[in-house]
Subunit: 225 residues, 2 copies
């Protein structure tokens, strides 16, 4: 039943875009609005549930795209990226819920922190495995790579520890920058900044993914063979 409510809430979110109303959800379900209070103590809790589901769904999509594993780390990065994009493109409103601008009057509770890490962890694992296998080129794509200053080093070290990638600070930095670009690209695509710019969106996203693997220094299968 709570699942059904969430389903209708998502539908509603997709139709009216971002503004979520309990009354509207109840209406769509043919119920009276107060009936929802049997399932959710208030509107924010429903939102939280949707947000957690979104992170979990995206996390699952990312994980599913990496089930094969293997040692072609660049290919894996791209596959996961594509998996993330496909999830996002097919559920733009759920994506906006978790990666869009903050919702007025709503503060994400602590419960969302852990699921939020799930999608990110999949990409981190690929980097970690590549690093462990000695298959990340130092300094990324051929260049020396921007040096990591003393200001940033401690935090990068903390992040590395948290992600358990065991990489050096510069590689962690490049991984984070690549993540930033990946979600930046999705924001651009889903929030309309590609309108009248790119129509070949999947191809453009793909190009960016390949570009990220070069940037991070992930070796492809051929390079290592």
């Amino acid at each position: 039943m709570t699942a059904e409510i969430k389903r209708v809430a998502l539908e509603h979110l997709a139709r009216d875009g971002s503004a979520l109303s309990l009354r509207a959800v109840a209406r769509d379900m043919g119920m009276v609005s107060s009936a929802l209070y049997r399932y959710f103590p208030n509107r924010d809790e429903l939102l939280t549930a949707l947000i957690i589901d979104a992170y979990d769904g995206l996390g699952a999509a990312a994980e599913a795209a990496d089930v094969a594993g293997g040692t072609d780390y660049a290919a894996r990065w791209c596959a996961v990226g594509r998996g993330i994009r496909e999830w996002a493109v097919s559920r733009p409103h759920e994506y906006a819920l978790i990666y869009g601008s903050p919702i007025p009057g709503y503060a994400a509770p602590q419960d969302t922190v852990e699921p939020a890490g799930r999608p990110v962890a999949v990409l981190a694992r690929i980097v970690a495995e590549a690093w462990a296998a000695g298959r990340i080129r130092r300094g990324g794509s051929g260049g020396s790579g921007a040096a990591v200053s003393a200001t940033l080093e401690p935090e990068l070290q903390q992040i590395t520890d948290f992600l358990a990638t065991a990489t050096d600070p510069a590689t962690t930095a490049r991984y984070l920058a690549a993540m930033t670009q990946l979600f930046g690209a999705l924001n651009f695509e889903l929030f309309g900044r590609l309108t009248n710019v790119f129509e070949e969106r999947a191809a453009w996203f793909d190009w960016q993914l390949r570009s990220m693997t070069e940037y991070v220094g992930l070796e492809t299968e051929e390079e290592s063979a």
Copy 2:
């Protein structure tokens, strides 16, 4: 007077975050809500005016950061990036208005298209000048650079023509990817994805800017000397 209304509207936006109400603005101005209709035909027109102002403000900040010009293209890119960030960080709600998730029930009219190009144009000009001066390394940062497929080429060519950068498709692609990363980084910072991750935000953004110039292949002053 319309300027005063916009000022208060922005204040209100900053306080209540994203939900803009005519009545609340009028209240803040010590007026009755219907009085605003003398200045704006409806709420959406006020929003549009705010959005156009935001693009113009950001554009002006970007332009101001590049007044010096010069041939250290990498340094110019970073300066403009910093200018953009400073504007955004000091006006997060205006930034969210233009680069956040779409506002429910609001469709941006045609009038916003031209001002929207202003911030982007500043970075494009730097790339164009560097390209004209032969100071962009082919294939970006040392590597061969991901190849541009036949699928993407025509659109990249169109974009190049529109931006008047005269660059080759691969360079245009890298420029666009760098833009994506720049705004992705701001989204992460301003929409709370760096909470409990990075505290040294200016330094982290700076590192990413330098990283972008390498990626695009912009030569620094020393390299060309």
